[in-house]
């Protein structure tokens, strides 16, 4: 069994090496990079957040909780992912970074977060009840991980190996919902409560930028970044 495993690993490693060179992101020093910034807003009043039905662990999860799908102020929408669709070389990022993701009062905090493929999601349980954090990826929402978190404040680190929006749920508390948006590169961010965002150190060029919200959908916008300049990107969702 052990011998077979090592042979397998050798084969896998060489396959991975080959795979990693194709279409990979190259980390370089970006000098005089530009910025993409702007505001993602919503035409009219934001849709109302539905009430969540808390079916268990009410002492911890509370009652009368509303969902966090539509958050924002001043016309802006929070938790919208703004990410460059594809870019071959750009700024460096911390490969070993651990993106915090917490189960707190039976909600995922943060609700939406971005990461680079290969970085680890640090899943934590701040509640005294059992959560199992169940991650799904791909179009068919295939299970990526299903990790039990019986103990409080013990962070479990799992590498994010699939691209795109990763849906995070909890089997034990079916209303819990969160997202990790994974890109090949670090040029992605999440809008603040007023809808504003900023992506810096972008090499000059023309890019397609993806704007993604869990309920409002996904759009693509073209942006041209000049060296040292700021490209404005505003977009308004309408329901």
């Amino acid at each position: 069994m052990k011998i077979k495993n090592s042979i397998k690993w050798a084969g896998v490693a060489s396959a991975l090496l080959l795979a990693s060179t194709a279409g990979a992101y190259e980390q370089i020093d970006v000098t005089n990079g530009g910025t993409i910034s702007g505001k993602i807003s919503f035409k009219g009043a934001l849709p109302a957040n539905p009430a969540l039905v808390i079916t268990k662990d009410k002492e911890t999860c509370g009652t009368g909780v509303t969902a966090d799908y539509y958050l924002g102020s001043g016309g802006g929408i929070q938790n919208v992912v703004v990410a460059i669709e594809s870019i071959d070389k750009g700024k460096k990022f911390k490969k070993r970074a651990i993106i915090p993701f917490d189960n707190k009062k039976c909600m995922f905090v943060p609700h939406v977060v971005t990461a680079v493929k290969g970085q680890k999601l640090g899943i934590n349980n701040s509640d005294p009840v059992l959560h199992n954090t169940h991650l799904y990826s791909g179009k068919k929402l295939k299970t990526m991980y299903n990790i039990a978190l019986p103990l409080m404040n013990k962070v479990i680190k799992k590498p994010l190996r699939k691209l795109g929006p990763v849906v995070v749920k909890c089997d034990a508390h079916e209303w819990m919902l969160g997202y990790v948006y994974v890109s090949k590169h670090p040029y992605s961010t999440v809008t603040a409560n007023n809808g504003s965002f900023s992506i810096g150190d972008v090499p000059a060029g023309n890019y397609k930028v993806k704007i993604w919200h869990e309920k409002l959908g996904e759009v693509s916008q073209d942006v041209t970044v000049a060296a040292g300049g700021t490209a404005k990107l505003n977009y308004s969702f309408s329901k």
Binding site: N5, A19, D57, H134, M144, N146, A148, P150
Partner: protein, 276 residues
């Protein structure tokens, strides 16, 4: 004439009752048999003897066997939509596995990982209690050919990373001390929240649990050892706890037992004690 009738009537009822009693004792006998076998692979020959090469010819041979033995449940394209699939747990899980999904329940690999070839071989050999027959009627070589064909349903099997779960240590003697330690683990790791205090599958989280396809899939009643689908041996339970059941709600506990694998064996002893 009437006396004869009533005698024969009561005789047939007696026969009926004996039959029913006999069938339930057959279940008890099966449980005893299951306990006696502690080897993870409950077959009499080594799985590697007669293992053919994984090549196109054997995959084609595996397809021929699959088309005669497996399509009724797993479907011609492996999606788990065969003509018989609907009747198995009509509105509840489990349906026959969608072999194209890459989500497999019985593995010795990490959460979210594909199974190893040996895991698929084991499942084909043993079946899944209550739902899938065990195919010990197929030769070892034939079963491997089917394994290779099954792998061809999902391209991720090629050059995939396999984070395997190492079996650290082995079953420990089941005595009061071990069972007590296992009980403490059961409490600390909150198994009872789903499986319930006595392991009856009636924990507070139990009612809404669903599988990845949206079908209700309640937690196992741990007091019925013979119904464990991954197998009844301690090694089988080790895999369940550490790898979790992908496609279902049972998560992997591998991260929490890292460095303390002995506790898994104590936990297993405790769980096995629930069915005595």
């Amino acid at each position: 004439m009437n006396k004869q009738k009533s005698f024969l009537q009561s005789l047939s009822v007696a026969v009926a009752l004996t039959m029913v009693a006999g069938s339930s004792s057959g279940v008890i006998a099966a449980e005893k048999k299951a306990k006696a076998k502690t080897a993870p692979l409950a077959i009499t020959v080594s799985p590697y003897k007669g293992r053919p090469k994984e090549n196109a010819k054997n995959i084609a041979a595996g397809k021929r066997i699959y088309d005669n033995a497996c399509i009724y449940c797993h479907g011609t394209t492996g999606k788990g939509d065969g003509p018989v699939a609907f009747y198995l747990s009509r509105d509840t899980a489990p349906r026959p596995r969608d072999l194209t999904s890459g989500i497999f329940k019985f593995r010795s690999t990490g959460s979210g990982e594909l199974p190893m070839d040996e895991d698929i071989f084991r499942t084909i050999t043993r079946g899944v209690k209550g739902y899938m027959p065990g195919f010990q009627g197929l030769s070892v070589s034939d079963r491997w050919k089917v394994v290779y064909y099954v792998k061809s349903f999902n391209p991720d099997f090629k050059g995939g990373e396999f984070e395997t779960i190492k079996m650290v240590g082995g079953p420990v003697q089941s005595n009061g001390v071990s069972i007590n330690k296992g009980y403490k683990v059961y409490q600390k790791f909150k198994c009872w929240e789903c499986h319930g205090g006595g392991g009856l599958g009636n924990g507070k989280k139990a009612p809404d649990l669903k599988d990845d396809w949206g079908f209700p899939l309640p937690p196992r009643d741990l007091s019925r050892l013979s119904s464990f689908k991954n197998g009844t041996a301690p090694e089988d339970m080790y895999r369940t706890i550490m790898a979790g059941f992908d496609g279902g709600a049972m998560p992997s506990y591998a991260d929490f037992f890292e460095g303390e694998e002995k506790n898994v064996w104590h936990l297993i002893n405790y769980i096995r004690s629930l069915s005595e």
